[in-house]
Symmetry: C2
């Protein structure tokens, strides 16, 4: 039976199914022993106050109990059992909350492929489970087609060798994403996880021909328009359409989350940059935005004009040219921030100033370059020269974040003006809003002093323009550079909040470029040189030490310093527990991770209570 | 007189010169006041036991003393005065040692341009003082020409827009290097400083035309073969030949260094990879090699064959192909290590295992690529594909150092075999040698355990092959990743020594890519957001904290842990003082910095005594 070569007899008449209905049940065949087993089972489950996985044998008409342990269950089952036992008074609230693992919520938040359907389906490939849930759709091979087909009312899966920022609109349009290359931190995986979208990456067995618009695998061919099903939670690709299960609208889920919140002390915010994402996150219980990336507006629908102006600014030859381009860009930036601030209302919104190195935005195509050269009244070779000058060997540690603000103060100025004027305009319309200005990539207090001087100047100008005494906001910084952690006492003299950027902090603490770990991380995990990917689970022995040091030092000079974390770790249960234990005020994660973080924070308070 | 518009009268007859010989001296014109002044001067210099810079005035026949302070002096003057005063019993040994600043030794170690000659010379451009001393030579515009002309007995200056590793032989052949582009940490600057060679980089005013073999500046043209003079200490480029001063053979210098060594407790090693550099460093007082970079052998004269084999290894498609290429490479690696171990004798030699990312060695030219493809029996497109696969976004934090050793254990194996077999062969020839195996880019103990297993296996094999019980060596690691500092207690359980790589540690602590700081560091220094370049002077507030943490933690689990530093900071006086204060055993720096480090270490012990 354990080997799976015999079909077991059913326990009772109620649990008969099509595989075993021809077999007699224990209840019928040995009714006395069945009653005895049932009584022992009840006694065990009462004792452990949990569902049990019991092993027994019957020899010569006598029942022998072999083993009992807590039974495994799906997320849905865990939630249902916990709420049932709570309402039956078998367990208390705290125990009910602990009965569901935060990771299990993922399953409840996304439609999933029906496991019964999977059992008999045609599995064509396996890949990495990069974005949770299931998705069924017709395959298309370009972002443009994904957008076009979706507009035509079709449901599509976007299939690519790998994705890049130009594919973002297509990824958004598709119900699922499938790539042949890339790891758990590839572009496709990061974007999909951020959206909570079903995604499988690195399905290497598939020969993807985006020009010929077909997939070949094991002699089978799937062409544009053919239907596939993705199980993004397990990384499985199936031919044809499989049925799906949706558990999100379960009212018990809503009740359970309320219960969890009774214990939680850590606040949960979200990383969002659009009114839509902000609304989704609020529905999931987000208490603010912990990371609004200003640069998002240069990607995706409607980004053509601001992106062009940004590029013009980047390629300017002088400060006056740069200021002229920034003036043109200004209304877009202000409008973009204002829309999300409006949705969030009184909930705080942390807006990060421009972070990426400028050359990320330099156009690659000759056509776009010549258009840009024309707008700048320079020739193509001069544009190429300026683009070449921006090239960096290690852009992750190059001219980005606050370093841009120091060398080009006018960029900081424009952004802070946009934030403050958006806020004062909303307030003058009788609306609540609470912006927090966040400086990225800080390594030393003097950088923040430099930028604060700009913020103060802009604030005074905006107050005078709008006839107010003050535009309420906070001024703070990302803590993502080891030096910032080590000198956090000085830094906290200048800023009102810290937000840990543990993605970059992990990069620098380990000396691991996230874009390049594919070359060695799989071997590190195989050989258990690393127990887990430190970009998924915060490494308490190193990154955690720097975080704790920064918190201690920061609060030593500013006891009321507001402290949070943004980035992937903010939605990972083990990392959320750590954030709770070191005394952060909040975590921030992508909208679909908000319930996971809420439950993880509740568990953390139950297991490690703090005031 | 202070404005410099009047020629002052000479003080006495002895100090008359061609500018002032027509003027009466104070000694003749006012002999009584001259005697009075002379007596006061003697009294002041006796009191301060140092040369004084005195201001006075004479009004209505009366002498008024205005100010006195310690007089500024050149390095040569400082040394001479200190040794004179010591021999006259005016000051004690300790004071004599403190009278010369470590930085001033630079001047004594390199021939310099005669300041008198500079005053009337034709200054054509200014650049950054990247390599100290002066140099006169005929200009050439390619590394090949530099080598060829030097072989023909000419003395040349190599002029380039910027340099790269292919220029190294030309740079070595030239007496000085001049580039139009690049900063203090450009390739030219790093290489030149390592060799103590005169070098000026970033002389932007020069229009360098390497094809036309000429320099244009301010309407003047200098063609191949024309003579220029470089003052690398100050970054000045002069037309024509200026006279030079050489102070290195001063016996007082030798005596002074002996005196300094009486105080010093910190050992001083050198970074060297050739028998020649090793000998130079020993002459300068180096007590060992703190950093022998195995990869050096793939650059410069005689590197063609090993470089080709290395490339073959890198581009191999399987472990067996890679092992075959490593076997071919092996005799070169062993021979190279053996030659330097032989020169160093009983002095310890720390050999660092392969550090750079492999793609650094991938050939760029089509010709070299096709040769390589042929040797590997693959076509050009396959070679291009493999090369492309090695490309990284942020190579500094990519697949390098111990990460190579983990994914390709056979590379580690070959190198450790070379080290141990070179050592046992030297010893069997009756020679002393002491190799220390150093693993680079370590972030966690498990990496070192993984590599140690290889070292033990190779050690056992080599012992058996050579019929010995043991091949004495140490096993240690670079500490250059923040995580290594934070977990140094665990790491020290596995290794016998630490060598701090504060170049990389500074990169990761600040999040500054050394190759890319040109975009913002000048602004940071201008605005004093940073007081100094942290790659030149170790930042005690951040990198220093990590270093001190690592030392405390490391010695907590292994009290006799040997600890040093290698890299640029090891030859910078302020950083050497720090290394002394935190209890390191040695610093290691380029050969020409060894005397500077020795004196800095002596000062450190005098100012901050330790046992």
């Amino acid at each position: 039976m354990v080997a799976g070569i015999r079909t077991p007899n059913p326990l009772n008449e109620d649990t008969k199914n099509e595989q075993n209905e021809h077999l007699p049940s224990l209840q019928v065949a040995m009714s006395e022993i069945y009653e005895q087993l049932s009584a022992i089972r009840n006694q065990l489950e009462d004792h452990y106050t949990d569902m049990q996985d019991i092993e027994f044998t019957i020899q010569d008409g006598r029942l022998w109990m072999l083993q009992t342990r807590v039974g495994k269950r799906t997320g849905t089952a865990a939630l249902n059992m916990a709420m049932d036992m709570l309402s039956e008074g078998l367990i208390d609230k705290q125990t009910a909350v602990l009965r569901v693992k935060p990771e299990q919520l993922d399953e409840l938040l996304h439609p999933i492929v029906d496991p019964a359907a999977e059992a008999s389906a045609d599995l064509i490939a396996k890949g990495l489970p990069a974005g949770p849930g299931g998705a069924v759709g017709q395959i298309v091979f370009s972002a443009e087609d994904a957008v076009k087909w979706t507009r035509e009312g079709k449901t599509v899966l976007l299939v690519r060798e790998e994705t890049n920022p130009e594919d973002v609109e297509g990824m958004r349009a598709a119900v699922g994403i499938l790539t042949g290359r890339g790891g758990m931190t590839s572009h496709a995986a990061l974007v999909a996880r951020g959206w909570g979208k079903c995604c499988i990456v690195g399905a290497g067995a598939l020969e993807i021909d985006v020009v010929g618009k077909k997939i070949e695998v094991d002699g089978k061919v799937f062409s544009e328009g053919d239907v596939l099903t993705l199980n993004g939670t397990r990384g499985l690709v199936f031919a044809g359409e499989l049925s799906m299960i949706d558990a999100t609208e379960n009212p018990r889920f809503v009740d359970f989350m309320k219960l969890a919140d009774e214990f939680r002390v850590l606040k949960v915010r979200t990383n969002a940059e659009t009114p839509d994402d902000a609304r989704t996150a609020i529905d999931f219980g987000a208490q603010g935005i912990g990371l609004f990336r200003t640069e998002h507006m240069f990607y995706g629908t409607g980004s053509e004009e601001p992106l062009f102006l940004l590029r013009k600014m980047i390629m300017s030859g002088s400060e006056s040219e740069r200021r002229a381009a920034l003036d043109e860009l200004y209304p877009f930036v202000k409008g973009d921030m204002k829309a999300t601030l409006d949705v969030m209302g009184e909930r705080p919104v942390t807006i990060r100033l421009l972070d990426p190195p400028l050359h990320e935005f330099v156009p690659q195509s000759a056509d776009e370059r010549s258009k840009l050269a024309e707008a700048l009244s320079i020739d193509a070779s001069e544009l190429d020269r300026r683009a070449e000058e921006l090239h960096e060997m290690n852009p992750m540690m190059g001219h980005r974040g606050v370093r841009l603000g120091v060398t080009f103060p006018e960029i900081t100025e424009m952004q802070i003006r946009a934030i403050l004027e958006a806020a004062v305009e909303l307030r003058q319309d009788g609306k609540a809003c609470f912006p927090e200005i966040m400086v990225p990539v800080t390594g030393m207090k003097a950088e923040l002093e430099d930028q604060l001087a700009i913020a103060k100047k802009v604030h005074a100008e905006a107050c005078s323009k709008y006839g107010v005494d003050e535009i309420e906001h906070l001024y703070g910084t990302m803590i993502e550079i080891p030096r910032a952690c080590l000198t956090a006492d000085e830094i906290a003299e200048t800023v009102e909040f810290f937000s840990f950027g543990t993605n970059d902090l992990t990069q620098m603490t380990f000396g691991f470029s996230r874009d390049d770990i594919g070359g060695f991380l799989p071997d590190y995990l195989d050989k258990t040189i690393l127990p887990v990917d430190p970009f998924q689970v915060l490494d308490r022995d190193s990154v955690g030490v720097l975080v704790a040091t920064a918190i201690d030092k920061g609060r030593s000079t500013r006891p009321d310093l507001k402290i949070g974390i943004c980035g992937e770790h903010g939605g990972e249960p083990n990392s959320v527990e750590f954030c709770h234990m070191v005394g952060m005020d909040y975590v921030s994660c992508s909208p679909y991770r908000v319930p996971v973080a809420r439950l993880a924070a509740a568990h953390a308070q139950i297991n490690h209570p703090r005031n």
